[in-house]
């Protein structure tokens, strides 16, 4: 064997080692799984949307359109082809960055999504912030002093929060904060009279980028009620879980051990008891994120919020095939991304998970 051969061999083995370590990498694997999941979702929704009764071309053009125009439209949408051909046509389009023509807006679904997604992102991100802050504050307050006045208040709030669905909260909050007290606007994203150029589509961010501070506060005030309505249910649930874990953990030996060394109560509680107690709460947050996205449908409807969920509902009612698949895919993608982020968070909180992978 020559020197060159052995050089080649070692470089080959080095490459294969790097490849296998790449496959071993948890996040690479996770991303690979998500791609498969998303493909699966697309097949499922694609088929379901097309199998349902009703003629999408006729629905799109209206009852009075002449039959030959409708027929032409069907041709354009490949509705005569077998399902798998339709799917592959659609899939090829996806790889070119197009999700197909919306039957309602007659635009590319991608364009529609880019237009409507930011409003939903803004709503959900804001709801998430309220959720995290609210859940931790209430959970810690009630877990620190079980059965105190604060704890009892949180208990009542939590039961109400879990029992009452978010669209009811939306109406209650609209009634109290907007209609009776007049503190906040009842619906919409921005009051009339504010001019905001679209940069990212996130109104709060755009106003800041343009230095329009009054418009920023106006946009913010529009966000409060809908995101609060969205978050209340999950806040309640997560606060209760955090409380239960705190109460359980403060009697564990590892906490008593720290007390036995004379550490101040606040250090023991906020450092040594809070961190292990957060793990189940953060896990539940992953699941709650799904319900946040799901509930956004109703809340966007009530608040006349020009977001993706409202676009999705319209698409379903009008049997807008490509739009339905597009919306579901975006939600699926958001959920997968969120679960990867949460996974990262959890493995930083709980070293046992990170090291056992």
């Amino acid at each position: 064997m020559t020197n060159q051969d052995s050089d080649l061999n070692t470089s080959q083995s080095r490459i294969s080692a790097r490849l296998s370590s790449l496959i071993d990498n948890y996040y690479i694997r996770k991303i690979a799984y998500s791609i498969v999941t998303l493909l699966g979702i697309s097949v499922l929704i694609f088929v379901i949307a097309r199998v349902l009764p009703g003629d999408p071309a006729r629905l799109a053009l209206g009852p009075r359109a002449p039959e030959d125009v409708v027929e032409q439209y069907r041709q354009m949408l490949h509705l005569h082809e077998p399902l798998y051909v339709q799917y592959f046509v659609w899939l090829t389009d996806v790889f070119h960055g197009r999700l197909g023509i919306s039957l309602v807006t007659f635009r590319d679904v991608t364009t529609d999504i880019i237009e409507f997604l930011p409003a939903t992102v803004e709503l959900i991100v804001f709801a998430l912030v309220i959720d995290v802050v609210g859940a931790f504050t209430l959970g810690v307050l009630s877990g620190r002093r079980p059965n105190s006045a604060v704890d009892n208040f949180v208990r009542v709030f939590a039961y109400a929060g879990i029992a009452i669905p978010s669209f009811v909260w939306a109406i209650i909050l609209q009634l109290i904060l907007a209609s009776w007290l007049g503190l906040l606007p009842a619906y919409g994203r921005l009051s009339l009279g504010y001019e905001v150029k679209r940069i990212t589509g996130l109104v709060t961010l755009d106003t800041l980028l343009q230095g329009n501070i009054p418009a920023f506060f106006d946009a913010l005030s529009h966000l409060i009620i809908p995101s609060l309505a969205l978050a209340i249910g999950t806040i309640a649930q997560e606060a209760r879980i955090l409380r239960a874990n705190l109460i359980e953990n403060v009697n564990k030996d590892y906490i008593l051990n720290m007390y036995s060394h004379g550490l101040p109560g606040s250090v023991v509680f906020f450092k040594y008891a809070l961190k292990p107690s957060m793990i189940p709460t953060v896990t539940i947050m992953t699941l709650d994120m799904a319900s946040l996205i799901g509930n956004a449908f109703l809340v966007e409807f009530i608040f006349n919020w020009p977001g993706l969920s409202r676009y999705g509902i319209t698409a379903m009612l009008r049997k807008d095939l490509n739009a339905i698949v597009g919306v579901v895919l975006v939600i699926g993608l958001a959920y997968t991304l969120a679960s990867i982020v949460i996974d990262l968070l959890i493995s930083n909180l709980d070293p046992r998970i990170k090291h056992k992978r």
Binding site: D253, Y254, M258, S260, G262
Partner: protein
């Protein structure tokens, strides 16, 4: 007198009931003494140790009793006084090191905090390097030479023996005068139990510490203590010099307990004691051992026996000796 416990009662609240565990316990020790507490599992040994540091779980109540450490009234002292005792006078080795080390913090984090507050109590505000040096020193003392790795590890990454050594190191930081050891060998492999015991013994002698060793392993107590107490169902049954206790047990429970331990010399397995520990929700009114005692008198079921001195350094709570 280093430690003086008188008539200590500890109850645990559960949702419907009150578990009356400690039932008027006494314990006295002078400086430099090594005291053992023996008794079967569930007799309140851990509860007794935890009440000395006042670190009982939140559902515990102390309806009455006195615990005096030197001149400090532990149960009635303020937070400041108590934390000084906890930081630099008394250290405790917990029963299960896996449960007593926080699973989501590195050994480093936990050890540094313990050192930090001990040094603060001594009026010194340590730097990061001093914390590290101090931690390394205690890890060396407990024969953990690979200290850099240990410090950077999480508890689950260490072996059982290593965890126990970390636990001992941690306890030693705060044990300026008194070391409480709660069954220090129960949760580790038999092969290293002896090593751990010798380590504790050596460290205690080096530092001139007083110790309370709690165990249901009679051989260990016999080897390592000067005086021993027998605890059964939350009551002290007997106290004596260790050798006297094992050679001339006075209380029926003590003699039954000693004879039920398996002996290597005669290859016999003891008879054991009939029955089980009482239900702490409804404990016997008289002597708590009466329902299981082969010599029980009528009185034993109705009147709680008092501490009776039967010899120098030998006291027993039993109606047979009154």
């Amino acid at each position: 007198m280093l430690l003086n416990i008188q008539d200590l009662y500890v109850h645990y609240k559960s949702y419907w009931y009150i578990n009356k565990v400690l039932n008027g316990v006494w314990l006295r020790m002078v400086e430099g003494e090594r005291v053992g507490i023996i008794g079967e599992t569930g007799s309140g040994k851990t509860t007794l140790l935890k009440s000395i540091l006042r670190i009982l779980p939140q559902n515990a109540l102390i309806p009455s009793g006195v615990i005096k450490f030197k001149d400090i009234d532990i149960l009635r002292s303020g937070e400041a006084e108590l934390s000084t005792v906890r930081r630099r006078e008394i250290g405790m080795i917990f029963q299960d090191p896996m449960a007593a080390l926080n699973p989501v913090f590195k050994i480093k984090d936990q050890l540094y905090d313990v050192v930090k507050y001990k040094l603060l109590a001594e009026g010194h505000n340590p730097t990061k390097e001093e914390l590290h040096d101090h931690a390394v020193r205690v890890l060396n003392d407990v024969k953990l030479p690979d200290y850099e790795r240990v410090l950077e590890s999480f508890p689950f990454q260490l072996s059982g023996g290593m965890r126990q050594r970390v636990m001992i190191a941690m306890a030693l930081i705060s044990a300026g005068k008194l070391l409480l050891a709660d069954e220090p060998t129960t949760n580790i492999d038999v092969t290293i139990q002896d090593q751990i015991l010798k380590l504790i013994d050596r460290l205690v002698k080096q530092r001139g510490l007083s110790t309370i060793l709690v165990s249901h392993a009679l051989g260990m107590v016999r080897q390592m203590t000067d005086r021993a107490y027998v605890l059964y169902a939350g009551d002290i049954m007997e106290e004596a010099r260790t050798s006297e206790l094992f050679d001339h047990p006075a209380h029926p429970y003590t003699s039954l307990l000693i004879s039920s331990a398996p002996k290597i010399s005669t290859r016999e397995i003891g008879e054991g004691i009939r029955g089980k520990l009482p239900d702490y929700r409804f404990p016997p009114i008289g002597c708590r051992f009466a329902p299981r005692c082969p010599y029980a008198l009528d009185k034993c079921h109705t009147v709680k026996p008092k501490r009776t001195i039967i010899n120098t350094d030998h006291a027993v709570a039993c109606h047979l000796y009154e």
